[in-house]
Symmetry: C2
Amino acid sequence: MGNQTAYQSLTRTFQRLHHFGHLSAIASWDQAAMMPSKGNEARAAAQAELQVLMHQLITAPELKTQLDAAEQEALDPSQRANLREIRRDWQLANLLPAELIEAKSLAAARCEHAWRSQRRANDWQGFLQNFREVLRLAREEAGLLAQAQGGSRYDALLDKYEPGMKSADIARIFGDVKTWLPGLIAKARDKQAGESVIQPQGPFSVEKQRQLGLEVMGLLGFDFDGGRLDVSNHPFCGGVPEDVRITTRYRDDDFVQSLMGIIHETGHARYEQSLPRGLLSQPVARARSMGIHESQSLSFEMQLGRSRGFLQLIAPLIGKHFGEQPAFGADNLARLYTRVAPGYIRVDADELCYPAHVILRFEIERALIDGEIEAEDVPALWDEKMMAYLGVDTRGNYRDGCLQDIHWTDTFGYFPSYTLGAMYAAQYFATIRRQEPQLDEKIAAGNLAPVFDWLNANIWSQGSRWTTNELVERATGETLNPAYYRAHLQARYLD
Amino acid sequence: MGNQTAYQSLTRTFQRLHHFGHLSAIASWDQAAMMPSKGNEARAAAQAELQVLMHQLITAPELKTQLDAAEQEALDPSQRANLREIRRDWQLANLLPAELIEAKSLAAARCEHAWRSQRRANDWQGFLQNFREVLRLAREEAGLLAQAQGGSRYDALLDKYEPGMKSADIARIFGDVKTWLPGLIAKARDKQAGESVIQPQGPFSVEKQRQLGLEVMGLLGFDFDGGRLDVSNHPFCGGVPEDVRITTRYRDDDFVQSLMGIIHETGHARYEQSLPRGLLSQPVARARSMGIHESQSLSFEMQLGRSRGFLQLIAPLIGKHFGEQPAFGADNLARLYTRVAPGYIRVDADELCYPAHVILRFEIERALIDGEIEAEDVPALWDEKMMAYLGVDTRGNYRDGCLQDIHWTDTFGYFPSYTLGAMYAAQYFATIRRQEPQLDEKIAAGNLAPVFDWLNANIWSQGSRWTTNELVERATGETLNPAYYRAHLQARYLD
Ligand SMILES: [Zn+2]
Ligand SMILES: [Zn+2]
């Protein structure tokens, strides 16, 4: 230890955290994809023990001194960026008293556990009892973070997932979307009313869906020596950068959703698999933010995966695995994958309706955290906004309304990342298309390298080297510009 | 902490170790059954970090004071047994300097890594270079343990796996086996020379083998809500008692070995699944010893699984999954599963030849550790003993001789547990048969409860409550008596 710089001491602590985080990530994946039910209690206890340990490591008193000393040391730019990220992690962990963290975790566990049956039972009043406490603690957390960072309470929670982003920016961006989205949805539905779409005829065996999924993952450059595809109730991308675990779920009457879900998670996976190798144990090597992560999955799912060229490329594979059907033509697949149909459920929403679900949640959770509304006000607001944005009536239907997402049992400030991701993805692809005039032809011919090379050079390999604004500006020449998103949606749904 | 007794402080430390051990066990299972190759380096680093942490916990200076203070506290008998096991763990961890542990781990990793290709290349001289260092460190470890515990160096290593067992006892027991085993093998082969055995005709699809395996595990009472069956290169039983992970490997030209392997691992699994629940975080709830663990797998594989009644029970299942074949009659299955054929490889050995492989290894590793021979003496001794015990010529064939096992890259003193397990299993079944005169008829009729109930009451539910001798005496009325093993083998192979 004697000759270690303060910076080196910090990196060693964060390397330990990284190693423990590895075990926690694998155990979490296992819990979702492999673990039988009776393992649950022991697993939760083991994970909690590790969380306590990791919290002790990152709240050890010497870290403050080391952080201040490291600021004075000679560091190269990458080390300085790493120190910025280390300080950020340290602040997030040290601003909250241990009792609050424990109270939050208990309240979340209670609320989530009850939510599972309350949602089925359409029991908003029951949920409300636990939700009030969750909200109270979230406001307390947000208040402590906001005190240290400035800005509103909701800003402070948003910043956990989108460092540097302010809720006023999001309100402005989403406010603009609200001016044109309902009209665009209506026009797209009018246009599609005259189209005939052929539905694929099942059943589609799980094993064949899996083989198709693996083949498409291969096309998308997933490294199977550094990752796996498995099944879980809620699809996700987990594991560690060296060993990325994605999951899907299969229905034997429909392969369309699962296949696009695999494409989505493969986008997340390639980001993780391509983070800068030499630095993997350090925060600077992590994905930049939740919105940037989602911009990778949506680059794959929305920009690449739903593009005409890509559907031409995979149409023959679908026929190969399931036998030929009229529904498997590229034109019909494109109609299937761009069908607009407002509905209750966010995770089932189409590309065009999805942002409406997000904006609604952002507006409600921001008002909740900032204290403009109370927990009991949620259903009425939900009903009003669903009707205004999507023309959908949710009155009395909590199950498919404000009880549908797990997020609010625990998490506030995350929802904007989904739509920010879609916007970033549109901006990347506008840039890629400028640089590659024949992009769709190349994609249709199976040459996806222009997309992967651009994402790798500009996003994946950069980790957290830059702030989000710097990253996006270096990649596309400007910071977030939602005009590309609007142009993309108009081109796809109206032209 | 204020009002905690020393005993309570100790149990909290061991609970933490148990929680961390849970994550380590799941990560180990994952590594063998799930992990893609590129995850290896990061996984090894994460596991090593956790090992360092666990070593720090168990070598914390306050534990010595707590152990001494706890001896003076009022404890019930189960707590006192737990304290005995805690002290044992503590001693094993604290008798060795950290540098030795690290040197051992490095030497083992180097030796094992090189062994994988050296074995293939039949390269004994190459192996010897690393093996000398492994042996030197094993002797050093054994010397330190023996100094504290009394007895020989080999005694000290043996005690890690078989607490309380002395190498002189094993030498006496194995010495007796050597007087009758070669003759018994010869007579059994003479008897079998006139038998005709029908070989099952493959291929046997992996999926059908898996379904058959799962069905047999169900018959054997495996709790699928608390465990899984998967595939790995080297079959094992891992995971944690609340969530037991067993593995097998399949060959599509032969289901016989894999099926019996699953039965073996299910024996290990039921022991783990039935350890005393309320105490699971404490050492007193752990399996008694490696030999007792093996006595459970061998109770399932050798005593129950190869019994006529059990083969009658599963014969129709085999036909159901693979289609009927003449080879699937219970009589033919019994001949298949009791075929005696001396060969090179321990893990492929039949029930009768297996102890010869173990005795040979015990004699060599004991002499190595106690300094009676040197590393370079192994091949000649191996050749001599293989010829004497099994009539097999291994000269120059290191690959299928002394390089076949992974154990000696890391572990000495473990081999006797395999045959001790077989002996205990024979002794249990002699007891069960005394108490259940119609046992085989019950088994054939699918009533396995007498076996499970006896094992559960006498072994599984007892954890480490008793010493091995106490456990076996309480269960069978006497401590280890190898006469039952001899009688079992004579009855099965000569009558
Ligand atoms: Zn996503
Ligand atoms: Zn075994």
